[in-house]
């Protein structure tokens, strides 16, 4: 048995070596993609941990569901049936509208809009770092998910895929401060860029001129510029527009349309739409 008061030697060297190793790895991960393959494969082994971490919340949900009264459930079913009926009525016209839209685009010489395919994914993890807004879902490279794909929910744009493992993907939410989304207003077609506000829940508009034609309540949809997010998906609704005479740009806040704090499902978009040039010719992009 070692003497009770023996100091541990050689600590300093080992500590410095490990710290140096950490700093090197952090830099490699931050500036190069070399570690991405490693994360992708080894990260797949971490999936069980993520799934276990969601169990308490699922248990809490089913626990409260267990106690829901029969009449409450019946009310909920009735309301859902009403909503389905409303939506079916609206989609009846959609086929006709799509067709008319495509014919008019053909007249203008623009290419047809192709419908995107979606893949439903369940959220299995949330980034615990409060300075970041990212979620982890249960579809990965095994399901043909690729980095850069846009992700939506039933209300609007959620974010884009930024990292993959074999069975999971990490999605950067639009509310993360490193994410910027090119949008346009539904009303007038004004093109701006909104960025995540990070700690603030709302999105922030950058470089919007004081004289812009923008009002509180305007819907912002993806403009498709930058060819990251397919165009036409709701992103946010303007909640504040304050032109500031002293500064060149106005202050804009917008509330995201998607339910970013939801914990259930999202839809990953497989964009079959090919990006178009401004003159309307189709560029073939084999994805």
């Amino acid at each position: 048995m070692k003497a009770l008061f023996q100091k541990r030697d050689g600590n300093g060297i080992q500590t410095s070596a490990l710290i140096l190793a950490c700093v090197i790895m952090i830099s490699i991960d931050a500036y190069t993609p070399w570690l991405q393959f490693f994360r992708k494969v080894v990260g797949a082994a971490m999936e069980p941990v993520l799934i276990i971490s969601t169990l308490p919340n699922h248990a809490a949900d089913s626990f409260s569901g267990f106690f829901a009264t029969r009449s409450a459930l019946k009310d909920e079913i009735d309301q859902l049936k009403r909503e389905i009926l409303e939506m079916q009525t609206r989609t009846q016209k959609m086929a006709a509208l799509l067709d008319e839209n495509n014919r008019m685009r053909a007249l203008l010489g623009s290419a047809e809009r192709v419908q995107e395919k979606v893949l439903i994914a369940e959220i299995i993890g949330v980034d615990p770092d409060p300075n970041r807004s990212r979620i982890i879902v249960d579809k990965g490279s095994n399901d043909n998910v690729k980095i850069g794909q846009a992700v939506i929910d039933d209300r609007g744009l959620v974010g884009q895929v930024v990292a993959l493992t074999l069975g999971t993907s990490t999605i950067l939410l639009i509310s993360d401060q490193t994410q910027a989304v090119p949008v346009r207003t539904l009303r007038g077609g004004l093109q701006i860029i909104v960025e995540g506000g990070g700690k603030k829940a709302n999105l922030v508009g950058r470089h919007v001129p004081n004289t812009a034609d923008l009002q509180v309540g305007d819907s912002l949809v993806t403009s498709g510029l930058g060819q990251v997010f397919p165009s036409g998906y709701p992103v946010a609704v303007v909640s504040q527009f304050e032109p500031s005479p002293g500064n060149p740009f106005a202050m804009i806040s917008a509330v995201p349309s998607a339910r970013l704090s939801s914990r259930s499902h999202v839809l990953i978009l497989f964009s079959a739409a090919r990006p178009m040039g401004f003159s309307g010719e189709v560029k073939d992009d084999v994805n």
Binding site: R8, D127, P128
Partner: protein, 166 residues
Amino acid sequence: MAVDIASRGNWVIAITLLMALLLAILPLHTGIPAELGYLRPDWLALVIIYWTLALPDRIGLLTAFATGLVADLVMGSLFGLHALSLVIASSFTLAAYQQVRMLAVWQQAILVGVMLSLVELVVLVVVLLLSQRDFSWLSFLSPLVSGLVWPWVFLGLRALRRRFIN
């Protein structure tokens, strides 16, 4: 016999580290504002510090390093970030373990809080240098909460240690 006890002890330590990891990534319930995430204690650091204090021969820098790397893989942070903070915490603990062991639990709690604040500062500097990300002073609430939680971590893990290892 000594080998049996040693390997069983390692399982217990591994399980406590896994539980700490799960607690660290546990998603907040919907309806709870994300800001409360700043109040999360650093469970991994607390568990590593305890085992380093209790069994400095067995649990040291390499354990901290490996645990940190696993945490980075699970949490998707920059590879090596959690490893860095756990190695620093572990090295501080190893340097002073004999004195820290002598202190009362509440005194240890203060030390833990201060140490983890320093570690948080280092991590903050590294992250700021590398990503120009907006940071929040609220991040420093977490080490304080960790310090507050330390007595319970200490007592709980000590009970486990006495039951399974000694």
